[in-house]
Chain length 275, copies 2
């Protein structure tokens, strides 16, 4: 594959760069937009190598064109590569873009967990899903994707209350996993739990409450969905009751870990038992 020609842009108000203007404001407003921002060389590499989203364009600082030649050779021919001097790039983005590497991804249609599950998962058994309810913190959602990827989960399913895993910070914290790991997003937590059960998944509702079964004493089912709730309040009673309550053994004086960490511990345990 040969590298296509880069398109030089010298004005910050060039309409072709509209996807890249005022990135931080977009962070605040366009949580569910049709386009999302990829930043940095490593993340772009992930997007090109294994990402599941089509790219709209790339936007690079001129000085990065030469050092990135190998990577740019992998950019599909129909994806324009815009380049500009660093100061123009900074003016477009609205803050200093030291890394000089941006791309714009096209989100497309994301199914709800119920739609996703009804299409059938193409994963070979055994299968593990990570299910998130009401997780509105981008760091936590990003970390959940990273952990799901590290421990071989087949997909991440999220109810409508969760934030967008393609938000800039969520992508970064996920180490790019939200660009390639299948996910579904939408509907209620109960819809999600019911859809998983209908597809034969045993749902473990992770909760610190007494009475929950201890992780480590349970047989790992062939089809397992691990359900995590918001860090402060935890999962609502209705969702816990609809599933099997499971807890991670912890010190009695301090039974608190971050929600993504609780997910990682559970995923690691399941992965280790199945390996």
């Amino acid at each position: 594959m040969t590298m296509q020609l880069a398109i030089e842009v010298d004005r910050a108000d060039d309409p072709r760069l509209q996807a890249y203007t005022s990135i931080r404001e977009k962070d605040l407003t366009s949580g569910h937009g049709a386009r999302f921002i990829i930043e940095g060389k490593v993340t772009l590499e992930t997007a090109l190598r294994r990402g599941r989203f089509k790219l709209g364009s790339l936007f690079l600082a001129k000085s990065r064109l030469e050092p990135l030649a190998d990577l740019l050779a992998q950019v599909p021919q129909d994806v324009p590569i815009y380049v500009a001097p660093q100061d123009v790039m900074d003016a477009v983005a609205g803050f200093p873009m030291h890394r000089g590497v941006l791309a714009c991804g096209i989100k497309g249609d994301i199914p709800s967990p119920a739609e996703f599950l009804s299409q059938g998962i193409r994963a070979a058994a055994p299968s593990t899903l990570l299910m998130l309810s009401d997780l509105s913190n981008h760091d936590n959602v990003g970390a959940c994707f990273r952990n799901a990827a590290a421990f071989g989960a087949d997909a991440v399913l999220m109810d409508a209350q969760c934030c967008d895993p393609l938000y800039r910070k969520a992508i970064r914290v996920s180490s790019g996993a939200s660009l390639w790991l299948p996910y579904a997003h939408g509907g209620t937590g109960m819809d999600m739990v019911n859809a998983a059960k209908a597809e034969g998944y045993e749902v473990w509702a992770m909760t610190p409450r007494a009475g929950a079964r201890m992780l480590g004493t349970l047989r790992i089912p062939e089809k397992l969905a691990i359900l995590l709730g918001a860090e402060g309040p935890g999962l609502p009673d209705a969702l816990i009751s609809a599933a099997r309550p499971v807890r991670i053994p912890m010190s009695s004086g301090f039974d608190s870990v971050n929600v993504a960490t609780a997910g990682a511990i559970t995923l690691a345990h399941v992965f280790g038992q199945r390996t």
Copy 2:
């Protein structure tokens, strides 16, 4: 215990508030200062109830005095409680202090890991230590403390390259654990590993490298030290060689978790096996 009288302060430049001036600048410069900042009601509660550091003073927005009466009754008589109108408090701190609750802790002498270990650990066997080398990220250090507390580690030992766990953000991310969980800080990573071995600890160097023993296949020693290194480069070869290399089974295409998460998985496994 009766509540002492609060001392009203009405000028932002009052010298008694010097510990609270320009908090964010202090964040950047005084990583190893003699005093540290506690913020928010929950963290102050932790500091008063189980913290191991003496408090220098409290500094509250006037409106918080009444609602916090129960908590303030626990403040030792020799610790002054300063109160000021919200706008004065904001001017002192250098940014809006919505929560209106600050305290200043006195750090005192923190031993190095070698000093700490030579004093003998008063924990009943079995004993677990979390050892950190070259962790300069406050979120990661804070999360390591939270996880160590959740899974009953006896102490956190850190070499000199680690950042201060009493930094404002580290305390917050630790859920206050860095205020009460014993820790040591200083010296080289190798000093720390050697001191732990001299005290009869088996040291597990957590690393994703092939050839490391799989967590889950190892007998848990009575005295175990879990060693974590910086997230990007990982532990240096010399430290890995001086210890037993151990890895967490992960997906072959994506063997990467956050360093505090790796610690949590290991701590949870050990805690679960010992319970």
